[in-house]
Amino acid sequence: MSSEVISSGHSACAGCGEIIGERMVLEALGKDVIVCQATGCMEITTTPYPRTAFKVPWLHVTFENAASAASGIVEADRKLGRNTTVVAIGGDGGMMDIGVRALSGVMERGHDLMLVVTDNEAYMNTGIQRSSGTPKYAATTTTPAGSVVPGKREWKKSISRIAIAHGIPYVATASIGFPEDLVAKVKKAQGIKGPKLLHIYTPCPVGWGYDSSKTVYYAKKIVETGLWPLYEIENGKLTISQRPTFAPLEEYFTGQKRYKHIKPEHIKEVSERVKAGWKELEKQEKAGVDLMLLP
């Protein structure tokens, strides 16, 4: 897999959805870009000193500060009289957990930044541990499915809602299973001044325990089931990008080892959440999203 921005020879696993997502985003943005990457699989697989897979300027500092380091980059860039697109990009761990303070800070301060979460629903780089992006019932190495506990106990956190609570001009979800939608959202976001956040679904064959040829299958299937809604929120106006067919959740759960233990009652519970979630989404599509203008 070689491109204008990421050269071949990186060491991401076969079928890695995250590197597909990263490449799609960067290719859509073009070469007038500076990338600030959080620690994680996308950093480790691309930049073993003294080699690099990046053909665009790229900085890695720590796990939890991609957003704040990017805020320094963008302010420095403007001081140098440029108008480069600055992207802070990281995994669900780097952006939704340990880096959430930094992410919140840059959104609140209004820096002209692209914020990208490539979500593979666990800390993959350190060996598949739970994050706040891990879905309920998924087994990870720190939320294993045992005889008593059926994997993760909590629901997945919504980073896009957290972003919207900052009143930022653009938030969108995307999946690498729908590349045209993803690319269109990246390009639209690039044209908007201020902080904009893209939450991208990027399956991981290693962490989820499925055959590496199935990455695109899962990236499409989750959208069809309604479990991963595709939408954008522009200045408080929510637009659904793609209506799900509400395909049975079994078609999504089957074949992933992380859900091997899942029982019909769990699936029923998730399916009720999907229904309720879509009701809410459709309501908001009509009424608009509360931009949280007051505390």
Binding site: T47, W58, S71, D77, R109
Partner: protein, 372 residues
């Protein structure tokens, strides 16, 4: 140049404005807060060119400065105590990436128990971070160190971040007659990096990870770079003295008085030690540059002396001594004793210092006494 009565923090802020950093990150913590407040006044009155980022934490402050410095511009922040501790992880990144960030550390005790007053545990605890550390005796010197710090940090032979340390409250909140330069006379040329920049026209990868061998090599290079900064620090001090007419005895150490007994310390407590040196006939060696540690200069100063006593406001826990003592101990085979003073801002009055100085002769080699 105009002499005026100014608060230490305000003098620092005025010099920082002249130094014209492009990106400043600000987060309040006592006793460093007056610096960002005054810089904010300048900004609101249109007197500051740089962009202030009012970050969400000191962790983000240092992170934003790493991002800005890696992009290729001059940067600044000030902090104290918990704020510096929160930066810890990023400090090591900044030095190893050879980013010439300059910060003012307004020294304050570390929790627990929470304590806002002055000691040096905050910056001393970062002594192995690969940063250059300079300690000023009074606010004039701190202001002058700010100017020297940017020259040193951005020098092509150095390219390292610098902490300028000043005693919290004793310097930051007291007024003094200070000669704040109105013009830097070209002493600090604009920062134009050739080693680290983020520019789409010349793509560069910064912050790659490394396997054992290159990691080991790069860390060795960092230690060599910190050591190699010492002659530049001295050179910049001497040149500053020529241009601005103010000298501090030397770039690395400041030797004061004569005597067989030597008292080593840093920062504002040295002013009283110098008064006592005149009265009691000992010599003061004030360490200005703590990292790189000027071991050769200290060795020379201690040669043939009867005893050395190190006064310090920090503890190297588990060694029975302070960190400065341990560094000085390695420079002499003669008698060396240690006084731990002023932790958590405990007052160190001149009569207490005088009493301690009177105890040196009766103390055993290697003994540590805690001032109460």
């Amino acid at each position: 140049m105009v002499k005026k009565i100014a608060e230490g923090s305000h003098a620092v802020a005025e010099v920082v404005r002249l130094l014209n950093p492009d990106v400043l990150a600000m987060y309040p913590i006592t006793p460093s807060t007056h610096i960002p407040e005054r810089l904010s006044d300048f900004e609101s009155d249109g007197e500051l060119d740089g962009t202030i980022i009012r970050v969400d934490s000191e962790f983000s402050a240092m992170s934003a400065l790493v991002g800005a410095s890696a992009t290729g511009v001059r940067t600044y922040t000030a902090t104290s105590s918990q704020g510096l501790a929160l930066m810890h992880e990023v400090l090591f990144v900044a030095s190893a990436m050879r980013l010439p960030i300059v910060i003012t550390v307004v020294n304050r005790a570390l929790s627990a128990p929470l304590n806002i007053f002055n000691d040096w545990q905050d910056s001393i605890s970062e002594r192995d971070s690969g940063w250059i550390q300079m300690y000023g005796e009074d606010s004039q010197e701190v202001a002058d160190l700010m100017v020297q710090a940017y020259r040193i940090a951005e020098d092509k032979r150095v390219l390292l971040p610098v902490m300028v340390c000043m005693d919290g409250f004793f310097l930051s909140h007291t007024y003094d007659v200070i000669d704040v330069p109105e013009d830097l006379k070209g002493f600090v040329p604009p920062y134009k990096p050739e080693h680290a920049y983020l520019d789409p026209k010349r793509p560069q990868t910064q912050g790659a990870w490394a396997m054992q061998e290159p990691y080991f090599e790069l860390r060795k290079e960092l230690e060599e770079a910190v050591g190699a900064a010492l002659p530049v620090i001295k050179e910049v001090h001497d040149e500053f003295a020529k241009v601005f007419g103010r000298s501090y005895g030397g770039g690395a150490i400041d030797v004061y008085g004569e005597g067989d007994t030597v008292v080593v310390s840093m920062g504002s407590v040295c002013t009283n030690l110098k008064v006592l040196a005149d009265r009691l006939g000992f010599q003061v060696v004030r360490v200005r540059c703590y990292r790189p540690f000027p071991a050769e200069d200290v060795k020379k100063a201690l040669e043939g002396k009867k005893a050395v006593a190190v006064f310090e406001k920090d503890v190297a826990y588990g060694t029975g001594h302070g960190a400065l003592y341990n560094d000085v101990r390695a420079c002499t085979t003669g008698k060396a004793v240690n006084f731990i003073v002023g932790l958590g801002g405990l007052d160190v009055p001149i009569n207490a210092l005088e009493k301690m100085c009177g105890e040196i002769d009766a103390m055993n080699d290697g003994e540590t006494r805690w001032q109460r």
